[in-house]
């Protein structure tokens, strides 16, 4: 029994990290409707930024959010303006080629400038853990989990109650109608991309205390974040959070009780099943949000 609870706890903590990485993608994917294959590289860049701030200025990884988040917000806005905007009205394949290209470019630039070494930030809390009734809880993962929860709550209220948030939701539901209602769609795209990148960067920063940083560290996150976002439903922040936890728990149980080598296969199988039965995702907003940007 204890093992089951321990596996569940580990899965939930892992899922919290997944949710955190995916919130930003939900914003970008939901609002701008672009399949950004360079999403993982944004995680990678923010991890490197955090690493260098620690390495050069001895800044605590958690403190470095005050620098990393604004920088990555600006990066996101620039990315939307310079890369995404010019290709927004082109075909889906064009968007895929472009963002895959950017992803490879960023990986190789990281390789040239920062080398292929595996870099880690060693902090006092990197490997610390709590023990509650024989259940072990890793502290940095718990921090990431709480940050994910907090981010979801903030974003949820922001989207629900502010004018800007309402405009973003209107764009998610139907960008043509939103435009007709007087929403400046392009400007909101810039903001959404910046905001999305910023939340992704938060995920990257919180990964640093327990994960190594290297040029291809972001690669597994790109696909994973898509699964989480589509499973949770476009435009649904709580959906992303729950889907993240779900994937984390499935991975943890599948890895422990079936085989560690098969854990990805298990959650992809579940993902395909869900898409067949509920294409808009578990918590999707119904018709119109089921598409995955392929238009």
């Amino acid at each position: 029994m204890e093992l089951y609870i321990q596996v569940l706890v580990s899965g939930l903590l892992l899922g919290g990290v997944y949710a955190l990485i995916s919130i930003g993608l939900n914003l970008i994917f939901g609002v701008v409707r672009i399949i950004n294959f360079a999403h993982g590289e944004m995680v990678m860049l923010s991890m490197y930024l955090t690493f260098w701030l620690h390495h050069l200025y001895n800044m605590d990884p958690y403190l470095s959010v005050i620098i990393v988040l604004p920088v990555m917000f600006a990066f996101g806005v620039g990315f939307q303006r310079l890369v995404v905007q010019p290709i927004l009205s082109t075909s889906a394949t064009m968007k895929i080629f472009t963002t895959v290209g950017i992803s490879l470019l960023l990986q190789n630039l990281a390789l040239i400038f920062w080398k292929g070494d595996f870099r880690t930030v060693q902090t006092s809390y990197s490997m610390s853990s709590l023990e509650v009734m024989n259940i072990i809880i890793s502290v940095p993962r718990l921090v990431a989990f709480c940050a994910a929860l907090l981010s979801i709550i903030i974003l949820f209220h922001f989207l629900k109650y502010t004018y800007l948030g309402k405009a973003l939701r209107a764009i998610v539901e139907d960008h043509s109608v939103a435009r007709l209602m007087g929403v400046a769609v392009e400007k909101h795209y810039l903001f959404a991309f910046g905001l999305g990148t910023m939340f992704t960067a938060l995920g990257g920063v919180l990964l640093v205390p327990f994960s190594s940083v290297y040029p291809t560290v972001g690669v597994p996150f790109t696909l994973l974040a898509f699964v989480v976002v589509v499973l949770g439903g476009l435009g649904s922040m709580s959906g992303t959070f729950l889907a993240g936890l779900f994937i984390g728990v499935v991975e943890s149980f599948g890895g422990t009780f079936v085989s560690p080598g098969l854990k990805e296969a298990i959650y992809f199988a579940i993902f395909i099943l869900v898409l067949l039965v509920r294409p808009q995702g578990l918590f999707g907003k119904g018709r119109g949000t089921e598409e995955v940007g392929l238009k």
């Binding site: 093992l3 321990q6 596996v7 580990s10 892992l14 990290v17 190789n108 040239i112 080398k115 292929g116 070494d117 595996f118 870099r119 880690t120 060693q122 990197s126 490997m127 853990s129 072990i136 890793s138 990964l207 327990f210 994960s211 190594s212 290297y214 291809t216 560290v217 690669v219 597994p220 996150f221 991975e251 943890s252 599948g254 890895g255 422990t256 085989s259 560690p260 080598g261 854990k263 990805e264």
Partner: protein
Amino acid sequence: MKRIVGLLVVSHMFLVTVFLGGAFGAETLEIGALYPISGGLALLGEESWRGAEIARLQRNKAGGIAGMEVVFAQGDASTVSAARSEAERLIEQKKVPAIIGTYSSSRCMAASEVAARKGIPYFELGAIANAITDRGYDTIWRTNPTAADFSKAQVDFISQWYAPKLGKKPSEIRVSIAHEDSDYGTSVADSFSELAEEAGMKIASIEPYAANTNDLSSVIFRLRKADPDLVVAVSYANDAILLARQAYELKLKAPIMGTGGGHSLQSFAEALGEEADGVFNVDFTQYAINLDFTPGLNAFYALYKKTFNEEPRSGHSLANYMGANVVFDLIEKTGGSLDPETIRKAAMKLDISPGSTATGWGVKFNENGQNTAAAPLVTQWQDGMLVTVWPKAAALRAPIIQE
């Protein structure tokens, strides 16, 4: 970019060759040196080349081989297919009578095949896949130990030191294997479990996982459930760190023993801090070792620092330095001839006992061209340093079981 980097490296090597050579007459002996010096394996590929280069510089200073100055014709095995075409180029255009290399097993397999078909001797100084000397070619020699030797060293260490230390017989020892699930991890895991079972040990569980993962907690839970006396890990760099970190966090009791690769890198110790201490690893000869067992290691170390202005980045250069010296000695014995049959006769006569080369390896080639007197050593992280702990003759310190 790859090409530019490759070009720079090659031209740098050329300059080193030009400036440091020059004391000889017209007679030179040009040997192909084939390593990945650009692309994904460039770091340790170039590190390997540096070892051979130092052996070459040292040899030329001492009068060369059979009175001839040794020169390297450089090839870049950046990919498997590049290894093949570069071997072709070195033999056809550069007319080299022999090739040394290669660091990577897959590149060696491809390049040595080309050389074998053309009847050119191929000397492997660093790749470990068993298959390299198991294919029945009689123009291939390998100076370094094989993957099977790695497993053997591991099994010997466990049954001769670790089991008695726990107060158990080898047959009472239960070992779990956690390995990354590509060719490398799977084949090492296979050969280990085979040898371990022959020695009477019990394999408690085998846990394959994908090396690019960002969470290994499920592997740790399975290991906790299997409750082995020791975990043998076959990992690359990132997963070695992740496995050790999560093992500590999730309170895995059994100690971890690595198999080359990730567990030797400085970044492993940096990531784990004090928690790296106690981790065992089996690898090529490292620098913190009993110097009586490795005559010439200090001279190599000093020459390396003087030539390249930095510390060696791994033991790969040392292994290639030792291997290149064996090759040079061999050619000296044949009077400069690289005819495969002459080389073969001279090679079979070589008999150097362990403990008399810079890596501590002996030299005794078998029919397949494999050096059977070379063995990897067991190291352990102690006080942030990777020290050699076993076998006794090579050990700088005694192995310890970390509490």
